[in-house]
């Protein structure tokens, strides 16, 4: 699926860079405009500063940090990770320094880079979601809050995001305690994601992000043991991209607020798929582990695509997919 070629604008390919630079800026709700649609996905970019050796963080649309819990969390016991075809399963279990250490130690380091910081909030209770969100909203230097209601690896906490009632409770607990843009990140572990996206819109989310990793299992046939310690972990990487594109398209057809696409993005073409499916921005995840500069390569690829196709504003591409079902109900 590609956008229709268009006639290059004046000064097209031969012009000077500054004169023809496409406008990559995108709005992701709540009045927040990013300089470009390339964000990082929570849990794949540390607290941001770890990547400063490899790239200029200020070039990114936004950095979404590792999910933050109220108190420090050790995470799950090994094995935490295994490779699968074109992807991997993780069961980290939110290894978090806790919200106070994040604000005290991690946020200042990230604040030295001129990039919007999106804080991902995790809780094992409604109250924890509220407390962390409130605490982060009081801190300087956070551009938006993302609610991680879909972590597949904390069994005690249930996956809030697979239950409409619990998702509503999380939204109703957090929305009143923050004026920051609130992004609801959805799990793919539901039959139909549209009611969850609509619920987010109805309860005051400024944007919907999806998908979280897909609950998955891999088994070592010789030891007959599951390959991550919790048995089930979260599948990520290029393997999940077509599932993610479909779900992003479904969510985007269901709500008017911006949708942020996540799932197996490794190249600019992958990111473009999500934009065409209806995402206003994308989050780049697992590929950061393998190519530390992947976000920048994707950003440069998007800019090159816009130049080559004569697209002056990248947001024009959002939701322009052709050949999709007229409505999700018609999907097989």
């Amino acid at each position: 699926m590609t956008a229709k070629p268009r006639t290059p604008k004046r000064g097209g390919d031969g012009g000077r860079k500054a004169a023809t630079a496409p406008d990559l800026s995108v709005a992701i709700g709540g009045g927040l405009t990013l300089r470009n649609p390339v964000m990082t996905a929570s849990g794949t970019f540390g607290y941001g500063d770890e990547f400063a050796a490899h790239l200029d963080l200020a070039r990114l649309g936004a950095v979404v940090v590792k999910s933050i819990s109220l108190d420090p969390r050790a995470g799950n016991r090994p094995e935490r990770l295994c490779e699968t075809p074109a992807g991997m399963i993780n069961s980290i279990g939110i290894m978090s320094v806790g919200v106070e250490a994040f604000i005290r130690e991690k946020l200042p380091a990230l604040g030295r880079h001129d990039v919007p910081v999106v804080a991902s909030v995790f809780g094992t209770s409604i109250e924890e979601f509220r407390s962390v969100t409130r605490r982060l909203s009081d801190a300087e230097g956070i551009a938006a809050i993302e609610l991680n209601v879909g972590c597949p690896n904390i069994r005690k906490a249930r996956i809030f995001g697979t239950d409409l009632g619990l998702t509503r409770e999380v939204m109703e607990a957090t929305r009143p305690v923050t004026r920051l843009p609130l992004i609801l990140k959805l799990t793919p572990a539901v039959t139909d994601v549209r009611p969850f996206a609509r619920l987010g819109e109805d309860t005051g989310a400024d944007a919907i992000a999806l998908i979280n990793s897909i609950p998955a299992m891999a088994i070592d046939v010789r030891s007959r043991r599951c390959r991550v310690s919790t048995g089930i972990g979260g599948l990520s990487g290029p393997a999940i991209r077509p599932v993610a594109v479909r779900m992003v398209w479904e969510a985007a057809t269901a709500v008017r607020i911006p949708v942020i696409g996540i799932g197996g993005i490794a190249t600019a073409e992958d990111a473009l798929e999500f934009l065409l499916a209806g995402a206003s921005a994308v989050q780049v995840g697992t590929i950061n582990f393998v190519r530390p500069r992947a976000t920048i390569e994707i950003l440069e690829g998007l800019e090159a695509f816009c130049r080559a196709e004569g697209i002056s504003r990248i947001r024009e591409l959002v939701g322009t997919v052709q050949g999709a079902p007229v409505s999700p109900e018609e999907a097989p």
Binding site: R73, R77, C82, M88, N153, V290, P292
Partner: protein, 309 residues
């Protein structure tokens, strides 16, 4: 811990495959060259990707066996055993191919304490990280810390004679190399850990007791080495492997549990409970680790992790 301050920023770059040589059945030495590579300390590793595409997706963590600086090129050698799809693909890579690597990564082996005689224990491909250490102890800036030039002993363990790796390379460094094989086809018959016990006892009798043991090999071997060292009150440093996606501290996949006195105490920091092989290690003080992490009874033993069925 000297050397830590000299840890260089890793480079992510394409490397040219110069060639590879079979050392033993299923085990090869791969030579890669890059235009530039930061100073490498013993115990550090690289992440090496076998493919450009998405499958297999992740890089493989490989101990750096040797680094040779030539005019305008740096040749990096690694020793690997074929254990899965990635390493099987790697074994078929021809000279001239380009592979992406990230490195050097991780924290190095610390110098021996002043005046302490080091003893190296390697099993299988674990010998790879020890070779760079032996080289530095003999010839590098660390040579001065050795009390006697002839005082470096290296113990190598393998299942059988054909799987004893790189013995000549260690010998060429002037090290005293002792071998143990499971089947007795070379050196002493039995486990390298039994050889270690005898060697420690012999050196103590001669009045030159080992002051520090460095070990790298299968987890069970390293755990046994640590127990022997604990009993003999000798410091033990081990270099671990772990399933890692990134190699630089962000995927959090390679966590290993630390020894915790009170597992019921609240977690003050995640690093109290788990260390990351990639950035806290791969070299660890063996006495700081909880060695039972790969056993089913871990939860029953009160491991701090939130074990789930």
């Amino acid at each position: 811990m000297t050397g830590i301050s000299r840890i260089a920023t890793p480079l992510h770059q394409p490397a040219r495959v110069e060639g590879q040589r079979r050392l033993a059945p299923g085990t090869s030495l791969l030579r890669l060259s890059v235009p530039d590579f930061p100073e490498t300390l013993p115990g550090q590793f690289i992440m090496l990707r076998v493919t450009e595409g998405g499958d297999p997706l992740l890089g493989r963590a490989m101990a750096i066996y040797r680094v040779e600086r030539r005019r305008g090129r740096v040749v990096i050698e690694i020793v690997y055993r074929v254990i899965g799809r990635g390493t099987a693909l790697l074994s078929g890579v021809d000279p001239g191919r380009t592979l992406w690597l990230l490195g050097p990564l991780g924290r190095p082996f610390p110098d021996p304490p002043e005046g302490a005689t080091p003893l190296l224990v390697g099993g299988g491909t674990g010998i790879a990280s020890l070779h760079l250490l032996a080289r530095h102890l003999r010839a590098g800036p660390r040579a001065r810390s050795l009390p006697r030039r002839e005082a470096l002993t290296v113990l190598l363990g393998a299942r059988t004679r054909r799987e004893v790796l790189c013995r000549a390379d260690f010998a060429a460094l002037g090290a005293r190399v002792l071998v143990a094989t499971d089947d007795g086809t070379q050196g002493r018959r039995g486990l390298v850990t039994a050889l270690l016990e005898d060697t420690l006892a012999g050196e103590a009798r001669r009045g030159r007791p080992a002051g520090i043991v460095y070990a790298c090999g299968p987890t069970a071997m390293m755990e046994a080495v640590w127990r022997i060292c604990e009993a003999a009150r000798i410091p033990c440093r081990v270099s671990l492997e772990g399933p890692m996606a990134c190699g630089f501290g962000v995927c959090l996949g390679c966590a290993v549990p630390c020894r915790v006195d009170d597992p019921g105490a609240p977690v003050r920091s995640p690093r109290d409970r788990f260390k990351l092989v990639c950035t806290d290690g791969p070299v660890f003080d063996a006495s700081a680790l909880a060695w039972w992490w790969d056993r089913a009874e871990a939860a029953a033993a009160g491991l701090p992790a939130e074990r789930r069925p």
